[in-house]
Amino acid sequence: MNAKARILATVASLGFMLFSFNHCVLEKKTNSKSTATTSSSSPVAQDNQPAAPVATAPPVVVTPAPTAPPMNTPAPPPVVIQSAEIDIGVKNFEEINETMSVVTGISAGTNAINNTFRELEVQLPTDNSIKSFLSSNQVAITKLAAEYCDQLVNSGTLRAAVWPGLNFGNSPNQVLANNTQKTLVINQTLDKFWGPNVGGNRTTSQLEMLSLMNDLLNGENLGSATTTQVTMKGVCTAALASAQVTLM
């Protein structure tokens, strides 16, 4: 793969790390999944609820300082800090490998894939806990995705199953010349890797992929079929290493 695709892969890792971090700590749930029960009837307690602590921590009961209430006033009920629940997990090393194999059609037993997987295995996530997910995990995921995409784009039969109608022997000037052509292959990529009509924000993702593709083509030799293949490897790697594929 060329340098641009590698840069793409590395930056993708950082993006995912940021994404994971935000999803781990931001939201506080207030629906029926809440674990708080003891002070739910108290308006004081509800008003004083601070932002959610680190997700999945058990509910913490904070007893107010005893100095405030006068002698005859009953002590206010304890403040219960609701714990947010993580509702997503990350696939482990073997699940990631199997997933990439399933969606690309490349056998995980292929020598090149198997060798890359063995090299990266220890760097891939060990278990399904999103809390233990590290940036190094994402780097390994991206490297593995790059290997799968390299194999995919180089295989005439398998790439035709993902991108039917796209002639990889033609130059971008012929097959990626306008937004219609580009959007078609982007949709095919997302449908294949992310599942058909699964998940939200598909339109926005398509637009972002379109911008990515334009960036990958910018300044390259648009009259060469090699550029078509390299660009498609980049698009493939971005989609295959994304959270939609590796989270569950």
Partner: protein, 373 residues
């Protein structure tokens, strides 16, 4: 830099908001098999979820061989070693659990059944008591466990008379009978199948008559340390641990010498009046008192590994532990909300009563608790 910006946006916009039946089916399949569903399977599962038959949808996903070959395999690997990691080769312990689940054997027999599962793959080296080559071949060559595992009689293959499900598999022996005094087997069986380490069972009111000679009665010259701390675990575990007195690991395979206590058990003497193990009888001194919450059932004494395995598997804690482990497997979190805790408790009861310890039912049922909103 524009590429960086765009890629960041792509990842931020990754469609992870699961909502409708289609997204729920997609997630369910991913969690049960580790891979996304095919278009056909996704449509089937979506339809079932839409009609309020989420468990049937889970059952469809569980027909995928990767349910066994990937998800269950990695789930169980943690149980087979002291490091509790899944970064270990496939072994007979894991294969046996997979086989029991696949064949709908009552899962309590995982601790006392005379089962062993080997592959029927013709190219794999035959099962050997002295090495793990058979299973490593299967894993290295991506041989499907779901499709090739077959049950054999463990005692006939290994020559161990007192077989006790996975407890007496080669992998288990390698991890928990190696060196030491076999206490590791008791401890990790409690951790893996009752979800209780000995710290949780610590009870210094139990008589210390079974505490062995290798336990110092005055560590650091202070007998209070023994009375207030050591005895809390040793009194109970040493009375149970007798069940494994005839077992050992010789460096390559499990050994079981009937009527012959392994020399290592009584080898160290720090207190000469301590208990000397003379046979493989066991007694549960934790059956009463604070540890009665484990929900013990049956006679609190016996001889050998199989009888202890049966006794542990029939406890209420076993069912509760399995229900909690399954929840964590399919929901990727601990049961925290009141509704989840209640559901897990309820499923644990059904698991041991109506479902006759059918693990697949427990998994499919539990997986519907976290379809996503």
């Amino acid at each position: 830099m524009r590429i960086c910006r765009y890629l960041l946006l792509i990842f931020f916009l990754s469609p992870l908001s699961f909502a409708g039946p289609r997204e729920q089916a997609y997630r369910l399949h991913n969690r049960l098999t580790g891979v996304p569903p095919s278009t056909v399977v996704l449509a089937q599962m979506e339809n079932l979820i839409q009609n309020g038959q989420a468990q049937a949808a889970a059952d469809i996903a569980m027909q995928n061989p990767r349910f066994y070959d990937v998800v269950i395999k990695n789930w169980v690997k943690d149980w087979t070693n002291e490091e509790q990691t899944n970064r270990v080769p496939l072994n007979d312990y894991v294969a046996t659990v997979i086989g029991i689940i696949r064949d709908n054997r009552p899962f309590d027999r995982v601790l006392y059944g005379d089962y062993l599962y080997v592959s029927s793959d013709n190219n794999a080296p035959a099962y050997d008591n002295a090495n793990n080559d058979h299973y490593e071949y299967l894993e290295d060559n991506r041989v499907s466990l779901a499709q090739t595992l077959q049950e054999v009689v463990q005692s006939q293959v290994t020559g161990v008379a007192d077989t006790a499900g996975v407890i007496t598999t080669r992998a288990s022996a390698k991890s928990f009978f190696d060196a030491g005094t076999n206490r590791a087997m008791t401890r990790f069986t409690f951790m893996n199948f009752l979800c209780k380490d000995f710290e949780a069972l610590h009870d210094i009111t139990v008589p210390d008559g079974y505490v062995r000679r290798d336990v110092d009665r005055a560590p650091g010259g202070d007998s209070r340390q023994y009375k207030n701390k050591c005895v809390g675990c040793h009194a109970g575990q040493d009375s149970l641990g007798g069940a494994f007195a005839y077992f050992d690991w010789d460096g390559t395979q499990i050994t079981h010498n009937v009527n012959q206590v392994s020399p290592k058990i009584n080898a160290n003497v720090l207190f000469t009046d301590g208990n000397v193990v003379t046979d493989d009888s066991w007694l549960n001194l934790w059956a009463t008192g604070q540890n009665s919450v484990v929900g013990w059932r049956g006679t609190a004494s016996g001889t050998g590994a199989r009888s202890l395995g049966r006794y542990l598997a029939r406890s209420q804690a076993f069912s509760q532990c399995m229900a909690e482990k399954v929840f964590k497997l399919v929901c990727v979190k601990e049961p925290q909300s009141a509704s989840d805790i209640a559901a897990v408790q309820s499923y644990a009861g059904e698991f041991e009563q109506n479902d006759l310890y059918n693990m697949k039912n427990l998994i499919s049922k539990t997986s519907t608790l976290c379809l996503g909103e």
